[in-house]
Amino acid sequence: MIQIESESSTKNGTRIVYVSKDNVLPFLKEKKEEGFDTLLMVSGVDYKDHLEVIYHLLSSTNNSRLIVKAKTDDEVESVTSLWKGANWHERETWDLVGIKFKNHPNLTRILLAEGWVGHPLRKNYPMEKKQFVNLAEDGEDRVSFENTEGY
């Protein structure tokens, strides 16, 4: 059994457990073996002094739900070895929140263009600074702060 740091629940009674960031992968593996066979989403929250990574689990056989959270500075272990669907969700979390996932097969930006500066869902992201994207000759996206160099 892996140590749970603390526990709470959402307004409609879904259990939320906190684990330490080193225990994320073993804890989720244990939960998967207990019957939580679906990973609904991976997300991250910026609490200004630390980041939090959140996993929503669902057991499709007995319909129970579990939310697993871990405080992190900027890096956690990837869970793509457990669920194939984690691949895109982790890429999105890296793209928008800026949490790195160790041992991820292809940790690149998914929604924004490669080369984008900053992670938009961080609370200190400069909203007034616009970035422009253009398609270069080699078929990859280029990002620039000059409005003449993109759309």
Partner: protein, 368 residues
Amino acid sequence: MEDKIIEVNFGPQHPSTHGVLRIKVKLDGEIIVEAQPIIGYLHRNAEKLAEMGAYPKGMVYIDRLDYVAALNMELGHVLSIENLMDVQVPERALWIRILMVELNRIASHLIWLGTHGLDMGMLTPFFYCFRERERILRIFDEITGSRLLYNYFAIGGVYSDVTPKSIEMIKEWTEDFVDKLEEIQAILGKSYIYVSRTRGVGKLSPEDVLSYGVTGPMQRASGIKRDLRKDSPYLFYEKINFEIPTRTEGDVYARFLVRVEEMRQSARIVKQVLEKLPQGDFYNKKYSKPMLVRLKATGESYVPTESPKGEFGIYLIGDGSSIPYRVRIRSPSFANLSSIPTMLKGYKIADLTAAVSSADPVFGEVDR
């Protein structure tokens, strides 16, 4: 001739990508060796936008996620907020919500059926489907005042009541919709070309479905009987009789059959709602419109709902102010689309459009 792998770009500007999907396909002859979907062309970060204003203001962005089923998106948002703030909703409003959501589910599936037929080279079902959808949109126009993006569900109820004229319109529609649906299904399902192009194509095993987090009709077509309207009932779904259609083949044809059957079940639900619709208020008078933006909340809430594409829900974190601290959208199309590499591998390039359109991706929701 030597063996050579060719890389082909499919999209982002292609009529059968249902939006702006780009797939990098590696081909060995006409067999797909590897398919890599590239998304993000319609990204506008609805999560950040919803975190910038008061709780009800997020609704206009949530509307624009899955723009062909905007009411289903609104439902997920409004249920999550009401759960977070412990808002009581009058019974009549809840029944109206079921009515609207099921009508919108049919409208969404009709668009899918029409465009899917178009992808398979059949133009006729497209016109038939849009004719039927037009009647639903006229009903929405009568009730909400708009045809595509409604902003109709409010915290504590709905914005306007169902009028007697619209009830007449819905009754008239329920009378012959199922017959019309039979007609549309026959055009595709009895066509030798359609069936031979879809049967055994784009297969997903139940293990892959769970591993990718695929939900909704795609999951039910692979033999996993799950529907949140039955499994964790919200609104009044436990008081309504309907069945969950499932198939075990997991191919494109099975998804077609599941979605068509779902439309029949939704029409059944609409009929039952019309019988059960109680009299009373259509919104909670405690939550008058000007004070909605001043509502404050703390805690966390996630209410899963069954949208036409699968499990949709909004995970809200409140920090005690009137602006949500974090809004996270669980979008079903995003997870469904991530299974494309498995769905396409080993099939021929001609099967690509069939498999991609069977996932029913709507890019407002995939890219958010």
